[in-house]
């Protein structure tokens, strides 16, 4: 983890595109398991990366409400896409974790060794500003609150982050309005801005930690000129200008708290499938359920923690019944928590503007439109 309290001198370098392989190798040498973007099943997902050939070279993504597609680029950009369906939540707050297993033998029972931590710390390559903001939101909930989640902690601490500054936005992006991007300002060890202009292909690299600087020192990096920095800055500003969606966050907590009975909730409930896809793809949604299982003999038992969703009936089951029976109540709960009560709970918004809930909602429910409709009365 890039220590967010540690202020180091930010230094900028330029790195030829051909050095990306050596960056991956340098991280692997340091015992990191490197995970980054990769094309699989028609999308760019996070996966184990050992060579730059595995990166989505020359691919981009097109996103709209309820639609995602890959398309060939005219160049060989490594990171010429925006965000895929998966987030770092897949690694740091996994979908299924065995919390414990136990066995009964000779009239007593004992808890078995339940080591679940990954063998090697993760290094993540290609992490976007919204993603880092989401990790920050999960840190606040799972690491920095009164109760620390040990599963998250053992995966999160020691993570090495190579951020990539966005130089394009999808139609579903709205990080500018959430104040989380497109520029990543903290939380990384190295941040790359990929530049493809003037027939050259390379990166402007910003160091975010001493560890990052050490890794960079092993690569063929040269100090960046003012012209390089301007080009990188302009590319990121271009991504910001492309954004067509936004949420007006002015007084949003009060807005949603005062509109529990707004007719828009009925409207969205007609479209909402309560399938829970939005919560599964949301990089900050952290809710889980716990299942106890036994085998047929009753001599072995396991306790599993799995991603849960406020869109399921079981989520709000308390003795005697469910408190959110209607899909209206469930959508309202999700959005109001994400944008309003999260602020009361954790001191900031639960939404980072990545747009995944818009893209991966089969009927394409658009959180930015829902907020706008409520604001407009």
């Amino acid at each position: 983890m890039a220590d967010r309290n540690l202020v180091i001198e930010r230094r900028h370098f330029v790195l030829p595109a051909s050095e990306i392989g050596r960056l991956i190798a340098a991280l692997a040498r340091r015992d990191y398991e490197v995970h980054g973007p990769r094309v699989r099943d028609g999308a760019i997902v996070y996966d184990h990366i050992e060579s730059p050939k595995e990166l989505p070279v020359g691919w981009t993504d097109e996103q709209e409400p309820g639609r995602y597609g890959l398309k060939r680029r005219a160049d060989d950009a490594f990171f010429g896409y925006v965000v895929g369906p998966q987030s770092l939540k897949k690694y740091l707050h996994p979908a299924d974790v065995r919390l414990l297993s136990a066995e009964r033998k000779d009239g007593t029972f004992r808890i078995l060794n339940n080591e679940t931590a990954p063998k090697h710390p993760y290094a993540f390559l290609g992490v976007r500003a919204c993603e880092l903001a989401a990790v920050g939101a999960q840190d606040r909930v799972l690491l920095e609150d009164k109760y620390v989640d040990p599963v998250y902690k053992e995966r999160r601490l020691g993570v090495f982050v190579v951020a990539v500054q966005c130089t394009q936005s999808a139609k579903t992006c709205f990080c500018v309005s959430m104040g989380t991007g497109p520029r990543a300002r903290a939380g990384f060890d190295l941040a790359l801005t990929e530049l493809l202009g003037n027939g050259s292909h390379g990166f402007v690299v910003e160091t975010g930690s001493e560890r990052g600087a050490e890794v960079l020192a092993e690569l063929q990096a040269a100090p960046a000129t003012d012209a390089d920095l301007h080009e990188a800055e302009a590319a990121v500003e271009g991504a910001a200008r492309q954004q067509v969606r936004s949420i007006d966050t002015t007084g949003i907590k009060e807005l949603l708290y005062q509109n529990f009975e707004h007719p828009r909730w009925d409207d969205v409930a007609r479209r909402c499938l309560t399938c829970a896809n939005c919560t599964m793809v949301c990089p900050t949604c952290f809710c889980t359920t716990v299942e106890d299982v036994t085998d047929v003999t009753g001599d072995h038992a396991e306790r599993w923690r799995r991603w849960d969703s406020c869109f399921t009936l079981g989520f709000s089951y308390i003795h005697g019944g469910n408190i959110r029976n209607s899909s209206k109540a469930r959508y309202r709960q999700w959005m109001t928590h994400k944008l309003a009560s999260w602020i009361d709970q954790f001191g900031g918004s639960g939404c980072v503007g990545c747009g995944r809930c818009i893209t991966w909602c089969p009927p394409g429910i658009d959180i930015t439109e829902e907020v706008r409709a409520i604001r407009e009365g």
Binding site: D295, V296, P363
Partner: protein, 263 residues
């Protein structure tokens, strides 16, 4: 397990009604767990597996198949009387099965067309789930059922705990597996959002849209999914066929298939 407990192993019976036997086979197919199951329970009646047929009463009755004849309708009453806990397994038993497609047609016409001597055929007009005839303690969905869910259900029943059989959508299982959504990324028609989990998102994991084998999830919004399928280019006939699969007679799918016919 103590020998004392072994003496009082719960007695299990497996009954078949109108069905293909695939769900019973799921039990036999649970190879890794089968010996443990046989060790934990007494298989008292299971004609598909053994010629030994012990008389009731039984602690747990597993019922496969739907009710399609007068004989079925009488026999299920008897089965219910013999079983302390009655569990229905599979889409036939829980929703009427694929044979419930007859429910929209003229069965007498089928009989006249298909059988050389129709006078020997006695059948009901509808294929109906077991729960329409007798009280059922638990319905295990699927076509066929998932053997792990069956073992979990038996284990939970023996341990006296609530089984972990979720009623939410297939999408939750699909996303937990880190699958890329085939509906969003490739425009493939998929019933996952309105279908109950349990199969482990089998078809979407192999680039097929969900066929709805596990029946309607807890709160299916079939109207919204129908709109979505239309946007993906599905015709009313295609949408109707999608909802008229193994769980066609489950009321939410039944209603959805009739609605899209009307539009």
């Amino acid at each position: 397990m103590s020998s004392e407990k072994k003496k009082s192993r719960p007695r299990i019976a497996v009954f078949k009604f109108a069905s293909c036997d695939g769900c019973q086979l799921s039990l036999l197919d649970a190879e890794d767990e089968l010996l443990a199951v046989v060790g934990a329970v007494e298989i008292a009646y299971f004609p598909e597996a053994t010629r030994t047929m012990l008389k009731g009463p039984y602690d747990i009755g597993l019922v496969e198949g739907s009710v399609i004849t007068h004989g079925d309708a009488e026999r299920i009453q008897e089965v219910r009387r013999k079983c302390k806990t009655l569990i229905t397994i599979g889409a036939c038993a829980t929703a009427g099965g694929i044979q419930a497609l007859r429910n929209w047609k003229d069965v007498d016409e089928f009989i006249r067309v298909v059988y050389a001597s129709p006078q020997y055929i006695s059948t009901l007009k509808l294929s109906t789930p077991i729960a329409e005839h007798v009280p059922v303690d638990f319905e295990l969905r699927g076509c066929p059922i998932n053997k792990y869910q069956l073992v979990e259900l038996i284990s939970a029943t023996l341990a006296g705990r609530k089984p972990n059989i979720p009623t939410y959508s297939v999408c939750i299982e699909c996303k937990r597996k880190a699958n890329v959504c085939i509906a969003v990324a490739r425009g493939i028609a998929c019933l996952g959002p309105v279908t109950q989990a349990g199969c482990g998102a089998l078809c979407p994991s192999y680039d097929r849209g969900c066929y709805g084998c596990y029946g309607p999830m807890e709160t299916p919004n079939t109207a919204s999914l129908t709109d979505q399928l239309r946007i993906l280019g599905q015709s009313n006939d295609q949408i109707q066929r999608a909802f008229r699969g193994f769980n066609a007679w489950a009321w939410q799918f039944r209603q959805a298939s009739e609605e899209c016919q009307r539009k």
